[in-house]
């Protein structure tokens, strides 16, 4: 079946979503990322892999953290980086997504890192770029955030190398979360046998079980014997309304406290894609506690993004290496 993310020889063409990527490609990215973890610890934190290439961060939706990590990753690969915060302003002036993209193509960028509030925006842009440009999805609506999914499984692999013998639980707002979708696909592709989601029904998408997860609605049974806990961010606008009665009630039922953490395995690790709502989805004592690997996630995020860019930047375009 046609896969817009792969070249005809099966190598990575764009990174748009984890869904549909073969295990071989995920492992290639993760193994490449291992080689970049050391780079940050050197005096000179640069490798020349993308020298002379231009990476363009096009953020139709504002984000400082994700954009910064992509920028650091690109710079450590010696690429030139352009940041474009299109936000909503350009669009309100009447410029379409394609106008923006066409302008950047005309400036001879080599790689687009794209974030957009609409699901499918990265696929849409990927369909309209010439062969020499690769698109990396840095988050599209509720759909996918593949580099986040990859850095999360990279982190899991570092702490729990035996992926075939793990129980992982995702907790919180799966419905609106592109991170959750990417995590689920990354975990199942890499062979994690049991992926759970724990949330109230208002925060779960329809037929979520068909994504290959087990569904739980309470923390005690959901966390039992779990090795990895992946917390999801709860957006402010979901806290009070028809989805949830209040942030306090959410914290009481689904917030990760030391007590609830004790339901999981004693050596379970706790992850969060950030930014955290302390006291809403996670208690500070857990976020800062000994089982938390939240800050290493950020560090690994740069190595994983470097790996994705290095692989796409080294792509064989038009027969020339």
């Amino acid at each position: 079946m046609y896969n817009p993310q792969l070249d005809s020889d099966g190598s990575l063409r764009h990174l748009l979503t984890i869904e549909g990527l073969p295990k071989r490609v995920l492992n290639q990215i993760l193994d490449t990322a291992e080689t970049f973890v050391g780079v940050a610890e050197r005096d000179i934190k640069k490798v020349p892999l993308l020298r002379g290439k231009t990476v363009c961060n096009i953020f139709f939706e504002n984000s400082t953290r994700t954009r910064t990590t992509f920028e650091i990753a690109a710079k450590r690969l010696s690429a030139d980086v352009i940041n474009l915060n299109v936000g909503t302003s350009s669009q309100s002036k009447g410029e379409t997504i394609l106008d923006t993209v066409d302008n950047l193509i005309a400036m001879h960028a080599d790689m687009f890192v794209v974030r957009h509030a609409q699901s499918g925006a990265a696929h849409f842009i990927a369909q309209h770029v010439p062969d020499n440009i690769s698109v990396i999805n840095a988050g599209d609506g509720r759909h996918a955030h593949p580099t986040q999914g990859l850095l999360d499984v990279f982190t899991v692999r570092r702490y729990k190398p035996d992926m075939h013998n793990l129980r992982v639980a995702l907790i919180g707002d799966v419905l609106h979360s592109r991170v959750a979708r990417s995590e689920i696909h990354a975990l199942t592709t890499l062979g994690v046998p049991e992926v759970r989601v724990i949330a109230p029904k208002t925060l779960l998408p329809a037929d979520v079980n068909k994504l290959g997860v087990q569904v739980f609605h309470d923390m005690k049974t959901g966390l039992k014997d779990v090795d990895v806990i992946m917390m999801l961010r709860l957006q402010n606008e979901r806290m009070n309304g028809a989805m949830l009665p209040s942030a306090q009630e959410y914290f009481k039922t689904f917030g990760l406290t030391q007590e609830k953490l004790s339901y999981a395995k004693t050596d379970a690790i706790v992850m969060h894609p950030g930014p955290m709502n302390r006291g809403v989805e996670i208690d500070s004592s857990v976020a800062d506690g000994s089982q938390s690997v939240i800050l290493p996630q950020v560090t690994y995020g740069i190595a994983v993004r470097m790996a994705v860019m290095a692989i796409l930047g080294g792509r064989n375009v038009g027969g020339n290496a």
Binding site: T96, D140, G141, P205
Partner: protein
């Protein structure tokens, strides 16, 4: 002008004709089917050997985009598309700009269409002023101006008090209401069927219950107010079941389905194909099969094109931002034939769903080949395959999920009032 259509296979479901027959036309009317009338000398003979001769098709829903959205399409472009698709009568929705809630606008539309003489245009008037769902439109005056029924297009009437009054008022005069059943709140901001595909793609879903809830309210009010209801574009298995049950208990309700929903499902969204962004949304394979079955057992009376031209720019956007809709006038017959062939039915069953059945719903005189009827005729090759190609389509809109696919059934001639309006 006298025309002799010879050697064709005539299929006229209303008159139960399904045989090789010649048709004779004079002064825009059919003067004989079978035997040549005495003294008839044709000015023109159309050789229909190996072709099907059927009543011109009747489409229950086509957006012509005039007035107000001429950048999307024009009356000229879309009525040429109708002729190219063998459609000789069509009902158009009131969601133009301005909305068809004033008799003057309806008269103007009728007048312009009549001048073009490419298809009979039957406007559906707005049920409420500006389609806002608050104040009733002037239904009697609109009927006088040429409206054949009333509709809210894709707008909802959320206030059930208004809905009730609108039904009562329409029922007073025996008007038919053409309603698309969808609960406003459950469907709000949704762009795809609420199920596995939407969950995977991260698209906001519209649950199947949105249709069922709305059908239940509409039918309940229709029973009390004795209003004739036509449900437009069913999309769910549950919707079909509700209509089947209502018909069994004698509720005067009819229903249609679009060419898209009997062949496609939410899987066809693929990688965010904006051409599959439709209203109502494409639902599951199970729903699609139930719609086909409902059509077969008569629960659903007619197939419509739900023709909605959208200009290219409005589709060149991420899925949820793209404007919903697909064109269909030129695809109506081939996709109706495909349904019949998939369902092990004959050509006559397909043709009934796009001629006599929709004509009865609209209460118009077309849709059959009786002697003295207007000579509105479609002549087509039921075996000819063709590729849906943007450059070949007459419609100004090129938006259809069938783009690039091969379909079977090609119009050779379309006649309106005995004049050839299209020739392949």
């Amino acid at each position: 002008m006298k025309i002799h259509i010879k050697n064709g296979h005539v299929i006229d479901p209303k008159n139960n004709i399904n045989a090789k027959n010649d048709i004779y036309i004079a002064a825009g009317k059919i003067v004989a089917v079978g035997q040549q009338p005495d003294g008839f000398t044709a000015n023109q003979t159309i050789d229909a050997t190996d072709l099907i001769v059927s009543p011109g098709f009747v489409d229950l829903s086509a957006r012509l985009r005039e007035p107000g959205s001429e950048y999307k399409a024009t009356l000229v472009s879309e009525l040429h598309a109708a002729a190219a698709g063998g459609v000789t009568s069509l009902a158009c929705t009131p969601d133009t700009q301005p909305v068809l809630d004033e008799p003057g606008l309806v008269e103007m539309l009728k007048h312009r269409a009549k001048q073009l003489n490419l298809a009979h245009v039957y406007p559906l008037g707005a049920l409420t002023q500006k389609l806002e769902g608050k104040l009733l439109a002037e239904m009697c005056k609109l009927t006088e101006a040429g409206c054949v029924g009333f509709s809210q297009a894709d707008a909802a009437i959320t206030d059930t008090q208004v809905l009730w009054r609108a039904f009562e008022y329409a029922s007073t005069f025996g008007y038919t209401l053409f309603l698309r059943a969808e609960d406003y709140y459950l469907a709000k901001d949704g762009v795809a069927h609420d199920g596995e595909v939407a969950s995977r793609l991260g698209l906001k879903g519209i649950p199947a219950a949105a249709e069922a809830l709305s059908i239940a309210s509409i039918l309940r009010i229709a029973i009390d107010t004795k209003t004739r209801i036509h449900l437009c574009r069913l999309s769910t298995a549950e919707g079909v079941a509700l209509v089947r049950q209502a018909k069994k208990s004698g509720v005067p309700v009819t229903a249609d389905v679009s060419i898209n929903h009997i062949h496609l499902s939410d899987n066809d969204i693929g990688y965010f194909n904006a051409h599959a962004n439709l209203k109502p949304p494409l639902r599951t394979n199970r729903d699609r099969d139930a719609l086909c079955q409902g059509l077969k057992d008569g629960t659903i009376n007619a197939i419509c094109s739900d023709h909605t031209p959208v200009n290219n720019d409005a589709k060149l956007l991420p899925f949820a931002e793209a404007e919903a809709g697909a064109i269909g006038l030129e695809l109506l017959m081939p996709l109706a034939l495909k349904w019949a062939s998939n369902s092990q039915l004959g050509l006559s069953d397909a043709i009934a769903k796009i001629t006599s059945q929709p004509a009865a719903i609209l209460g118009i005189s077309g849709g059959h080949l009786s002697v003295n009827a207007d000579a509105d005729i479609a002549i087509f090759n039921p075996q000819q395959a063709w590729k849906v190609d943007a450059n070949q389509l007459k419609s100004h809109g090129k938006n259809t999920p069938f783009l690039g696919l091969e379909i079977i059934g090609k119009i050779q001639y379309t006649l309106l009032h005995g004049q050839i309006t299209y020739q392949a």
